[in-house]
Structures are given as structure tokens and as C-alpha cells.
Amino acid sequence: MEPNTKMQGKDYITCGILSLMNMVGMILSSVMNISGYTTILYGAAASFFVGILFVIVCCKVPKFGAILVFTIVPCIYFFTSGLIEGITGAVGALLLAFAAELILKNKRDSMKRITAAAIVYTLYMSVIGSAESFLFTDYYCDAALAHGINETVVSQMRDMYSVKPLWLVVIVSTALLTFAGTYVGKLIMRKHLKKAGII
């Protein structure tokens, strides 16, 4: 049989399970929200896991639409986490997933493309995820203060987020960790999954 390039029933199931793991990775990474300084690393930590899973999705389901389905469960998680932030997060993630699909196109066996697509894909953690704190720093910090976070901590946060080049650092570090994630993903693929005959 010709390898089918359209998503079929079984691909939706595989992507559904990996999508769940995607969300679990994100929830686990939110441990980073434990303190003001580490919050900034949340995106980077999550993108490491996402990078690993991204490689597995691309290799297991090398078809157009796999990344979009892979994003569904995190999208629902974003959506339920608040009205305005939720909708922007969910729409942003889907748009970037679509962009990743376009980068991958039909060449889903090239590791370079997969890495590039993964880096674009995880931009939702660094760009969209930190947009509120960098663009609306005062609003964000006032809200934090109003919710009862310690004044000194909030003023440290305010200082940190008003250094705008830091946003670039966040974006770059997230991209780097995504790169690391895809690298580890590739190792796991080669060393285990391919050898075990699963992919």
C-alpha cells in the first residue's frame, strides 16, 4: 500500500495521546511559577519537554495536521485558564502550530526542518506567554500586588520586566531549550524507538 499522506483514524488517536503528554509536560513545568525570578524560565522548561514530544509526533505521524491535533489538548487547557488570556493563548498556539505545519510541509523526515518547526512552535511559550508581563508590565504587577503577592517581590518583578531586552533573552533561551529538546528527542528516537521497531 502507498503510504497515505492524509490523517487517518489511527493518527488522531496517536496525536491525542501525545497531546495529553504535551499538556502534562506544561503542567509539570509550571513548578517554575514558584518564585518571581524562575517564572521567567517557565517557557524554557516546558519547551524542553515539548521539543522531545515534537520529534516523536513528527516521526510517528508524518502527515499534515499532526501538529495541529497535537496542540488540541494544551489549547483546551489554555482556554479554561481564563477568558482573555485563555483565548489569546489558545488562538496563538494554534496559529503557531499551523506555521510549524507549513515549515514541515511534506518533508517530515528532515531533522533540520523538524527542529526549525519546533522552535517556531514553542514561540507561544516565550512570545505569547510573556507578552502580558513585558508589554503591560504595570498592569501585570499591579494585579500581582492586588492579589496579595509580597511588595518587595512585586517591585523586583517590575524592575525585571521593565528591562525589555530580557524578553529577547527569554525568547532565545526558550529556542535553545527547544533545540535541546529536539536533540534529546532525536537521541531517544534513534537509540530506542526506532531500534525497538515502534516507529
Binding site: M1, H192, A196
Partner: protein, 466 residues
């Protein structure tokens, strides 16, 4: 009903499973056909070719044709085949989608867009026929493996498909669950379904299978009528490498002549087992001697696995004490000195080759020693393969080799023969005997009486507390 004409199939990859060659076969409407033979003989390939997974889901090269009702399987889309054949697979855990029993049973009808009234009617009918009314309304996750399989059978029946394909449906079940499945299968036969089964455990099919095909290396080498097959003598059965053909209700054999003497290595005194506050078993008392293989038998839910988890130090006993060589041993010490082969051995293999698996976490073992160990358990020729690509029996022997490498003194095995064919069962038996002769104490939990009689010196029967 089903016709194979000069059909061959190969998976295209080297040695995962060999496929089948030149199959000519026809199956009548209402017939019950059993395929048997060693693992990898091609029986599940035949089944997959009937229910359409080959060629629609599994890629590979095929020649010849398979047809159901004169329609070629290759040319019908998968969702149309679903109206002709319904399948029950081996693993009860990974073949349901819904979290509640009722939806699970009618799932194939929902996908087809059948009206709700019709679904309710068929559901009621199936529940009555198969006597599973007590399961309706439960969550799938509350069910035991056997009950999950019953649900899967009901789903297959409800779909209205004339052909039922069963791929080792009892691999993980205990005797009482198999009895229930047998009742269901008799009902299905009465309803005129054509049934195709691949199985290692054969005894329960006595009186159900009309025709038996014995397969070897992708070919049907012998065909029997059901009556002739089940009256086969023991020696022929063993040379064909088949599991036993008549069922037994308890252990009949004499305890092995080899008596175990001396000081016990393990003593369990007054144990109460369970999680948190719910006690599953209390007052468990036994001892294990050096070089002994102790069998723990009993029905599902009697706390066999809990007993192993307690002994191995994964959970604390609620009461009582466990001593090793006469000294009380805490959880941590037990974890160090006990080796365990879990029921699902997949979770305990971590490395990328069998050889590295033996060395992992055992700094004293080098590659040479690992090779020697693998040779002892009969895995020398697969030492470079990925552990997860091995067959079930091979994985278990690898896990035993690993326990030996980390010089564990007592080995615990949880249901080692679920889903194994006769040859794998015999080789696991040989490895266990060898380890026992070296002076290890071994405890085997099993509901497989054939295996238990083969290996164990002594038995303990756990009954349900109520």
C-alpha cells in the same frame, strides 16, 4: 463466508513477525475455526487479514486475495469491513475508548449512526444473553481484566457483524474469567456467528472449535476437526508445542520429590496485606527455602499481586513481619535483595540492548559477563536487540538475567505465563529451575495451573477474604 486464495503477506521488516505464505482456506458461515501454533507462526497475520487491519492499517506486501462474502477485503474501506467483522484483541487495557461500559458496548453502532432506540434494544439483548447486566452503568476502570474482555465481546456481538475475530482473547485472564468467556462464545455460536480464534490456551475451546488449523512458519501444516484435535495424545501435543488440551480444576500433581530443608531464606509471619486501611488478606504465614520454587495460586482479587508488592518492599505490610535469613528486614533492604518480574515486564526494561540492560545499574557486570548471563537464559542470539522488540517470554527471561546480574537472592514473578506459548513457557521453566538449583528462592504468582504444576515445588492458595 471467508475465502483465502493463494494468499501471502510479509511485513517488509526483517524479523518482527514473519507473515504468511500461500494460504488457501475457506471458512463456512457459522463455523468456529481455531488457529494455533507457536508465537510468530502467522496466526495473527491471518486474523488481521480477515478484519482488515491488513492491509488498511498495517503496511506490507501481499499476494493473492482474501474475501468475505465474495467481497475482497482489500477493496472495502475499513468502516465497511467493521460491519462485516468485529474483533476482540489480546490486551483488555488498550481496546476501549469510553470510560463507561454501556457506551463502550454500543460504540461501533454510534460510529455508524444507528438510532438510539435500536442501540438500546441491542444493548439489552446482548446484556441478557451474556449475563453482564451487573456491569452496565459501571466505569471501565472499575472492571477486572476479565470483565473488560466480556465488555469487548458484548461490543463485538452488538455490532451485528456476522464474523467475530478473536486474537488471543484470554491471554491475561484467570480460570473463572475464561469460563465466562466460554459461555459467551457458546452464545455467539448459537446466534450463528462465524468465529475465528487464535489462541495459545486451548483447553477452554474444547467443544467450541469445529475446525483447528495448526500453523508453522507462516503455513498451515495440519488441519483437524475439533473432535480429532482435542482427543490428541499428550506426546503429539508436546511435539507440536501446544498448551494442554483438557482443563484442570485444581492442582493434581504430587509435590515435587525434592524436599527443601535447612533454614528458610524468607519467613513471613502474620502478614496483613492491603492499601491504606483496607485489608485484603490477613494472617498470611509461610516460609521459603533455598532452592525452592513456591507457587502462589488463587483467583483474581485475592491479593496475590499485593502479596508480591509487600514482600518486595514496594509497600509496607499493615501488620506482621518479614524476615530474611532469620533477621527482620525493612522495606529498603527487601527492595535491594528481592528481584521482581512484573506482570507487565515492559515497564522494567530501560536500556537500548539486552547486553546493556544487564549492565545497567550493575557496575560489577561487564559485557563479557552480560553475554554469559544472556547465554544462560537462552538469549545469546538476541543480545544486541532492543529489549522492547523481544517477545513476551524473551523479555521475562531478560528480566531474570538482570535480577541475576544484580545478585538478587529471592526472585518474585507475577503471572509469568500470561500470553506465552508452550515453547516459551518451557524455556521460562528451565531458566527458573536453573536459578533455583543455584540456591535462589523463587516465588511465582500464577493462575496458570499447567505452568504451576510444571515448575513449583510447593503451593500456597490464597482465597478471597470474604
Amino acid at each position: 463466508m471467508i475465502k483465502f486464495i493463494d494468499y501471502s503477506f510479509s511485513y517488509g521488516t526483517e524479523d518482527t513477525e514473519s507473515g504468511v505464505q500461500n494460504i488457501d482456506l475457506s471458512i463456512r458461515r457459522g463455523e468456529c475455526v481455531l488457529f494455533c501454533g507457536a508465537s510468530g507462526c502467522g496466526k495473527s497475520t491471518i486474523l488481521k487479514s480477515i478484519n482488515g487491519l491488513i492491509p488498511h492499517l498495517v503496511p506490507g506486501q501481499s499476494k493473492g486475495s482474501v474475501s468475505i462474502d465474495n467481497r475482497s477485503v482489500k477493496d472495502i474501506p475499513m468502516y465497511e469491513i467493521a460491519k462485516l467483522t468485529a474483533s476482540v484483541f489480546q490486551n483488555p487495557k488498550s481496546q476501549f475508548f469510553n470510560t463507561d461500559v454501556e457506551s463502550e458496548i454500543v460504540y461501533s453502532l454510534e460510529n455508524r449512526g444507528v438510532s438510539v432506540q435500536e442501540m438500546d434494544k441491542r444493548l439489552d439483548d446482548a446484556a441478557k444473553r451474556f449475563r453482564i447486566e451487573h456491569l452496565l452503568g459501571k466505569s471501565m476502570f472499575e472492571l477486572s481484566g476479565g470483565e473488560k474482555q466480556q465488555t469487548a465481546f458484548a461490543g463485538a456481538f452488538v455490532s451485528g457483524a456476522p464474523v467475530i475475530v478473536l486474537d488471543e482473547p484470554t491471554a491475561n485472564l484467570d480460570i473463572s474469567a475464561i469460563d465466562n468467556i466460554r459461555t459467551i462464545l457458546l452464545e455467539m455460536k448459537k446466534a450463528g456467528k462465524t468465529i475465528v480464534i487464535a489462541e495459545h490456551r486451548l483447553a477452554w475451546l474444547h467443544g467450541i472449535a469445529d475446525t483447528v488449523h495448526y500453523m508453522e512458519c507462516g503455513k498451515i501444516t495440519e488441519s483437524f476437526s475439533g473432535e480429532v484435535f482435542f482427543s490428541m495424545d499428550e506426546d503429539t501435543r508436546k511435539t507440536l508445542g501446544l498448551r494442554e488440551l483438557s482443563r484442570r480444576d485444581g492442582v493434581t500433581a504430587e509435590p515435587s520429590a525434592k524436599t527443601c530443608s535447612g533454614e528458610p531464606v524468607l519467613e513471613a509471619d502474620n502478614l496483613a496485606l492491603g492499601y491504606k486501611k483496607s485489608i485484603i488478606q490477613s494472617d498470611v504465614k509461610f516460609s521459603l527455602y533455598k532452592g525452592e520454587i513456591l507457587g502462589i495460586v488463587g483467583i483474581n482479587g485475592a491479593g496475590k499481586t499485593t502479596l508480591l508488592r509487600t514482600l518486595s518492599g514496594l509497600i509496607r505490610p499493615l501488620e506482621g513481619k518479614i524476615s530474611l535469613n532469620g533477621k527482620p528486614a525493612g522495606e529498603q533492604e527487601r527492595r535491594k535483595r528481592f528481584g521482581m518480574v512484573m506482570q507487565d515486564v515492559n515497564y522494567q526494561l530501560f536500556s537500548d540492548s539486552c547486553e546493556n540492560e544487564c549492565c545497567l545499574g550493575n557496575p560489577g557486570t561487564d559485557n563479557e559477563m552480560a553475554k554469559k548471563l544472556l547465554g544462560e537464559v537462552g538469549l545469546a542470539d538476541v543480545s544486541e536487540r532492543h529489549p522492547q522488540s523481544l517477545s513476551g517470554g524473551q523479555k521475562q527471561r531478560l528480566a531474570l538475567a538482570v535480577s541475576k546480574a544484580s545478585s538478587k537472592e529471592i526472585l518474585l514473578l507475577d503471572e509469568p505465563t500470561s500470553g506465552l506459548d508452550y515453547a516459551s513457557m518451557v524455556s521460562v521453566h528451565k531458566v527458573l529451575r536453573g536459578l533455583a538449583d543455584e540456591g535462589k528462592g523463587i516465588i511465582v504468582v500464577t493462575h496458570d495451573m499447567e505452568f504451576a504444576e510444571m515448575v513449583c515445588n510447593r503451593f500456597i492458595c490464597l482465597c478471597r477474604a470474604d
